[in-house]
């Protein structure tokens, strides 16, 4: 705390660092997106819910990024291309249906992945065992809203259908292998598809048919290639720290 300058972080590039960055960036970026709803959600209860989900994700991000280096430096001082999050989580909130579809897709993936990691004895088992309980609740929340909106009014059904369709092309990237994680990705993909399809069907929504990735616009967040809205999100997220280094309250 009395140090005036910090030496640049030069951790050894061990495989788990890459995985910590990938998982940590997913949690951090989605946390920030959900935080953007504060004060804007359709009802007060949902304002609180989205903020609480954001808080859970932020806690996970802090643990994960601390495994990879200095959490603040990683969150606030990296350039866009250095982030390893999925393109799905950086997508703008859109309408409430888009936020719920994004949450359904991501929380289902995160629960399956973390349950897998928790069952192992790797670097991430401890955090995953803790976080999987939180994430199950997020998934449950997203499922309940998907059912209500999909099986709701004509308008809510149409909006939910559009949202599920629009975000579908960002889902394939979730099952790309992450360096340092020993995971049966095809198994996770199959379980994800089964879980999400079941929810969509119960919500009277069709499972989108388009490609889950492979299009020019999707599938490269893990390699540092991001979609256009991400840069603007980062600018807002990093502005305070970059303008006032070391500020706290």
């Amino acid at each position: 705390m009395t140090e005036t300058t910090k030496p640049p972080k030069a951790r050894e590039p061990v495989p788990h660092t890459a995985a910590a960055l990938a998982l940590g960036d997913d949690a951090l970026v989605l946390s920030h997106r959900l935080g953007e709803w504060a004060g804007h959600a359709p009802v007060l209860e949902e304002d609180v819910a989205l903020a609480n989900i954001a808080l859970d994700l932020l806690g996970q991000a802090r643990v994960l990024l601390s495994m990879a280096g200095d959490e603040d430096e990683l969150a606030y001082l990296r350039e866009e291309r250095a982030f390893r999050n999925l393109q799905l989580v950086e997508q703008p909130n859109g309408d409430f249906a888009h936020t719920i579809a994004r949450q359904l897709y991501f929380s289902t993936y995160q629960r399956l992945l973390y349950a897998h990691l928790a069952a192992g004895d790797g670097e991430f088992a401890g955090l995953a065992a803790k976080a999987v309980k939180e994430v199950s609740y997020h998934q449950d929340h997203a499922e309940q809203w998907t059912l209500r909106l999909g099986d709701g009014t004509d308008v809510s059904h149409e909006r939910m259908r559009r949202a599920c369709q629009a975000l579908w092309r960002f889902t394939g990237e979730m099952f790309q292998p992450v360096e340092g994680l020993d995971v049966d990705w095809e198994g996770i993909r199959a379980a994800w598809l089964e879980s999400v399809s079941a929810v969509l069907r119960r919500a009277t929504l069709d499972v989108p048919e388009g490609p889950q990735s492979g299009a020019w616009s999707a599938g490269a967040g893990r390699q540092g290639l991001h979609t256009e809205p991400f840069g603007r999100m980062l600018a807002e997220m990093q502005h305070l720290h970059r303008s006032h280094p070391g500020a706290s309250w």
């Binding site: 989900i53 806690g59 309980k133 199950s136 449950d140 309940q144």
Partner: protein
């Protein structure tokens, strides 16, 4: 301060008791011991100790206030160097809240978490989109219902899955009509 091997154990127990007496910053009716978040105190040398603390939720913002309060209490007890570490394993569960802690929560107006409930996905019923729609709560008596902390009625409904903190949900009693927080099972 005596640091012979036999004395250390009782000293650690004493410091654990002291650290455990710190009130939770968000639920000040509970102590950290009753909440079950204090894992261990290790005496490293005559005036240096390490404390192991586990968060309720990974992102619980109270953990920093807890750490500062533990440091303060142990400093006051003459320990010069106190370092509080956060541990995640084994994960905290609401089953770690002591019976006394549960009693105090209820007295404070918060329905305590039920014990032995597996966390995770719960069976879904299509809930009402408006509070005036017909009752869709599952029929049949729940063997372990969430009871209103004010009047004890088991006839309560969920208002919001998230409440003032990540660890609570908001419910309403249908008997006395009072809203109340429920400490969610985790």
């Amino acid at each position: 301060m005596v640091t012979s091997p036999t004395a250390t154990t009782s000293l650690e127990a004493e410091l654990l008791r002291l650290a455990g007496s710190v009130p939770d910053p968000e639920l000040p009716v509970l102590t950290l011991e009753e909440l079950g978040v204090l894992r261990a105190v290790h005496v490293r040398s005559a005036d240096s100790v390490e404390v192991e603390l586990t968060p309720t939720y990974t992102g619980c913002p109270a953990i920093e206030a807890m750490s500062l309060d533990i440091e303060r209490v142990l400093h006051e007890h003459g320990i010069r160097e106190v370092s509080v570490h956060t541990v995640l394993t084994p994960p905290w569960s609401t089953d770690d809240i002591s019976p006394e802690g549960r009693r105090k929560l209820r007295e404070f107006g918060i329905a305590p978490p039920r014990t032995g409930r597996a966390p995770g996905p719960v069976p879904l019923t299509l809930g009402p989109t408006r509070t005036t729609t017909p009752d869709t709560r599952p029929q049949g008596p729940d063997p372990d219902p969430i009871r209103c902390p004010h009047c004890g009625s088991a006839d309560t409904e969920l208002l919001s899955r998230f409440s003032s903190t990540a660890c609570k949900a908001l419910r309403r009693c249908l008997a006395c009509r009072e809203p109340f927080d429920h400490f969610k099972e985790l």
